[in-house]
């Protein structure tokens, strides 16, 4: 979501700015951006199994890993700790998630630091959740962890693997050009729309994993498009050519005045939604907004 929007903005910045003198260059620069737009949303954090990491492809041209067509940078794993080894500058261990084992290294600044305290509780045989950076070192893939936490509620183990499946399906569909947010409805085995129908124990974990860009937005039940009438109309106002032409965008009050029958609160909520979904952005202050299509 974040980088996807970032690329989109970048593309439109170059398109409208004076940096690209020739029309053809602009078009050429635009196409990779727009084609990435749907696919690049996962350069955030990917929940993966070790098996998926072992199957990740690498292009000879760069050091990036790719899983399901997404480039993999940061990963999150859940598994059991083995072969813990403590050295002066780092603590390394293997994480076994049942699909395979991968080496994880945690750099330690010194004794009595937060990392060192956190790692003291991480002993062989415990289950941990690791957040880290996937890299290749001397031909071997390993994870440099920036967080290693003990699992205390073991439903998180179930949740992690379900999330791996969810994200995998979501990425496959988005590769095929289908709106990924519709995926869970067809594939989910819980008989309802998306991860919200998980049992309460897992549902709360889904809510807590706010890092996850694949989770359906709560307001929109995952559609990502303005479906609420108020949101639609507010969005339409921002998309009018006259609005697109104003450099500082529209003031909240101007929009609210045109939204007869809606309270200012409703209009503001709609604007918040559109900002969160990347349709509009705030300009000179917190009260002025403009379409990202401008």
């Amino acid at each position: 979501m974040y980088s996807g929007q970032g690329y989109g903005d970048g593309g439109s910045l170059f398109g409208g700015g004076g940096f690209m003198p020739s029309q053809s260059t602009t078009a050429a620069a635009d196409s990779p951006f727009s084609s990435r737009k749907s696919g690049s949303q996962s350069s955030g954090l990917l929940p993966l199994t070790v098996k998926q990491i072992s199957g990740a492809t690498q292009k000879p041209s760069d050091d990036n890993f790719y899983v399901d067509g997404q480039d993999v940078n940061h990963v999150t794993l859940v598994g059991m700790v083995f072969n813990r080894e403590e050295r002066a500058t780092d603590i390394s261990f293997l994480v076994d998630d049942g699909t395979g084992r991968i080496e994880v290294k945690r750099w330690i600044d010194g004794q009595d630091t937060n990392e060192s305290m956190e790692m003291n509780s991480v002993q062989n045989g415990v289950y941990v959740r690791v957040h880290g950076h996937l890299r290749s070192f001397q031909g071997k893939r390993n994870v440099v962890a920036f967080s290693v936490r003990l699992i205390t509620d073991f439903n998180e183990v179930t949740f992690h693997f379900l999330e791996c499946i969810y994200v995998h399906v979501s990425n496959l569909k988005s590769q095929r050009g289908v709106n990924p947010s519709h995926v869970p409805q067809s594939t989910n085995t819980f008989g309802g729309p998306g991860i919200h129908t998980l049992p309460p124990t897992l549902g709360s974990m889904a809510q807590n994993s706010s890092y996850n860009q694949y989770m359906p937005s709560t307001t929109m039940a995952g559609s990502g498009l303005p479906v609420d009438e108020c949101q639609k109309r507010v969005h339409a106002i921002f998309e009018e050519p006259a609005s697109l032409g104003i450099e500082i965008g529209l003031h909240v009050d101007d929009v609210a005045r045109r939204m007869v029958g809606y309270t200012k609160k409703q209009v503001k909520d709609a604007i918040d939604f559109l900002v969160n979904e990347g349709f509009i952005y705030s300009t000179i202050d917190d009260d002025h907004f403009k379409s990202t299509n401008a």
């Binding site: 049942g98 205390t152 509620d153 073991f154 179930t158 693997f161 499946i165 085995t189 998980l198």
Partner: protein, 107 residues
């Protein structure tokens, strides 16, 4: 990293596909006598686990990583307390997905 020695997540029904191989399964604890643990699997069948070494007190849910000796019998390698609050129903569904449609992600 290596993926040559996986231990797939299974329910009791799926154990027979893995006889002689290593699996993992979360069981609801029933009893523990002379190193033999009896538990109820996510698909509501009784599973017997031999050679169990586990830290006491044993919690209500236990994950066994071990070799399938026969239908509903495991020889334990590692037993882990999974706490008293574990939902077996989504775990059962996960086992089904992980051994069918989405197997490529696991083994």
């Amino acid at each position: 990293m290596e993926t040559s020695n996986p231990s797939p997540m299974v329910n009791a029904e799926q154990m027979k596909r893995f006889v002689g191989r290593k699996v993992r399964s979360v069981l609801r604890f029933l009893k523990f006598e002379a190193g033999v643990l009896t538990g109820q699997s996510a698909d509501n069948q009784q599973v017997v686990v031999r050679q169990v070494q586990i830290a006491s007190p044993i919690s209500q849910f236990v994950e066994v990583i071990g070799v399938v000796e026969g239908e509903r019998t495991l020889r334990a390698e590692i037993c882990t307390n999974f706490g008293d609050n574990f939902d077996l129903s989504p775990y059962n569904q996960l086992c089904q997905m992980a051994n069918a449609e989405y197997q490529a992600l696991f083994v």
